[in-house]
């Protein structure tokens, strides 16, 4: 069980894509809907136990502000495609503030 947080910062704040590997069953629905192909299903290599989980592709980890920012929530609009596609609520995309997280 672990939560993987991939962060990026742009002019409007610092954001994180958080993936809860305990909830993720590796179905891959998030990867199918991601418009920037950021996500991929990989063998769970965070641990030596078998199974698949989704992950942020290595090549996107250093440019999330370009890959993920177009989907970030800026108000009352809908959740990003990966978040709404996930049947187990394993993905969150949030703005991180000094006081904590807000969606």
């Amino acid at each position: 069980m672990l939560i993987a947080n991939y962060g990026y910062k742009d002019g409007s704040g610092e954001y994180f894509i958080a993936l809860d590997t305990a909830k993720c069953d590796g179905c891959g629905k998030c990867a199918e809907v991601c418009p920037a192909s950021v996500l991929e299903v990989i063998p769970n290599d965070f641990d030596i136990d078998d199974g698949n989980i989704m992950s942020v592709q290595e090549e996107h980890r250093h440019k999330l502000k370009y890959s993920c920012a177009p989907c970030k929530k800026t108000g009352g609009d809908d959740d990003p495609p990966c978040v709404s596609a996930c049947p187990t609520q394993a993905i969150t995309h949030f703005l991180s503030t000094a006081k904590g997280q807000m969606l």
């Binding site: 672990l2 939560i3 947080n5 962060g7 994180f16 290599d45 965070f46 030596i48």
Partner: protein, 296 residues
């Protein structure tokens, strides 16, 4: 112009004396191909037996082969006799002789647990190209980790460029940055492009090299504090990766966090605890477990 390469940190190999690999039940290997350095740890029944650290070349498979062969040199062992190899790091999927790849996040967590013991809860991996804050449990299993998309400035590669810029050998940067009488104001950016003009300006206005180094180390330390605060710092706290060997950064991270790192100096007397090798050590420990499982 001097041809001296101030950025060049020492590559080395080491064999631990008093271990007979022929008497061991499991010989496991961990290979960590980072963006800047390539590391191998060979373990005999879960104890460090041989290790090597060298610069990563342009090809991951070549780097992996070179660091593995160097670690095995003079040990009497060949790669065939290593029962199981786990690859980790940036180039982990490109290691031809590794049976499995495991992310460096898991390996650093496991390696930190091995090097500093089960009380470690927070691991800061300061690598050649990025920094990761990792929370682990008493078994070294990752519970939570955090990284961001910041560029390589203010990491190992940034430090190399900066050492070259000031013509100070990279191993001396930490000590020299602590030799200042008073901590100067931090440089405004860890960006090596901006740092160059800023450092040159500071030197011209009469700052000593030590003061400029102090200001740069301060900026580098400050950069990771945010990451650590977000993951939530819990004792014990350790730093892994090449930058962990820069005492000027370690001390400043400690100061900003208000928490001491656990035994940041133990590697000086014993290369088995080289924090640069935490990922490779973790990989070798996973390799041992995987081999034992495969044998039923």
């Amino acid at each position: 112009m001097s041809k001296e390469e101030f950025w060049r940190w020492p590559e080395y190999r080491h064999t631990v004396e008093g271990i007979d690999p022929t008497k061991g039940k499991v010989i496991s290997g961990g290979v960590d191909i980072g963006s800047v350095s390539s590391k191998t740890v060979i373990m005999v029944d879960g104890e460090v037996f041989a290790q090597s650290v060298m610069r990563t070349g342009s090809s991951s498979p070549d780097s992996a082969e070179r660091t593995m062969n160097w670690a095995l040199e003079d040990t009497g062992l060949t790669l065939k006799e290593v029962n199981y190899v786990v690859g980790t790091g940036y180039g982990r999927v490109n290691i031809p002789f590794a049976q499995k790849a495991i992310t460096e996040i898991a390996c650093h967590g496991r390696g930190a647990n091995f090097m500093w013991g089960p009380t470690v809860r927070t691991v800061l991996d300061m690598g050649g190209q990025d920094c990761k804050a990792i929370r682990v449990d008493e078994k070294g299993k990752v519970q939570n980790f955090l990284m961001n998309d910041k560029c390589a400035a203010g990491t190992g590669r940034g430090m190399e460029v900066f050492a070259d810029l000031l013509s100070v050998p990279i191993q001396e940067v930490g000590d020299r940055s602590l030799a200042v009488k008073e901590e100067p104001q931090s440089v405004s950016s860890t960006c090596v492009v901006f740092a160059k003009s800023e450092a040159v300006g500071l030197l011209r206005s009469g700052w000593s090299k030590d003061e400029v180094l102090a200001a740069y180390c301060q900026a580098m330390a400050h950069r990771v504090v945010d990451l650590l605060n977000r993951v939530g710092i819990e004792k014990e706290f350790v730093i892994t990766g090449g930058i962990a060997k820069n005492i000027g950064i370690v001390k400043r991270v400690e100061k900003e966090l208000g928490i001491q790192a656990l035994k940041p100096d133990q590697w000086r007397g014993d290369p088995r605890f080289d924090p640069m090798l935490a990922g490779a050590a973790g990989a070798a420990l996973f390799a041992k477990v995987l081999y034992e499982r495969s044998q039923g």
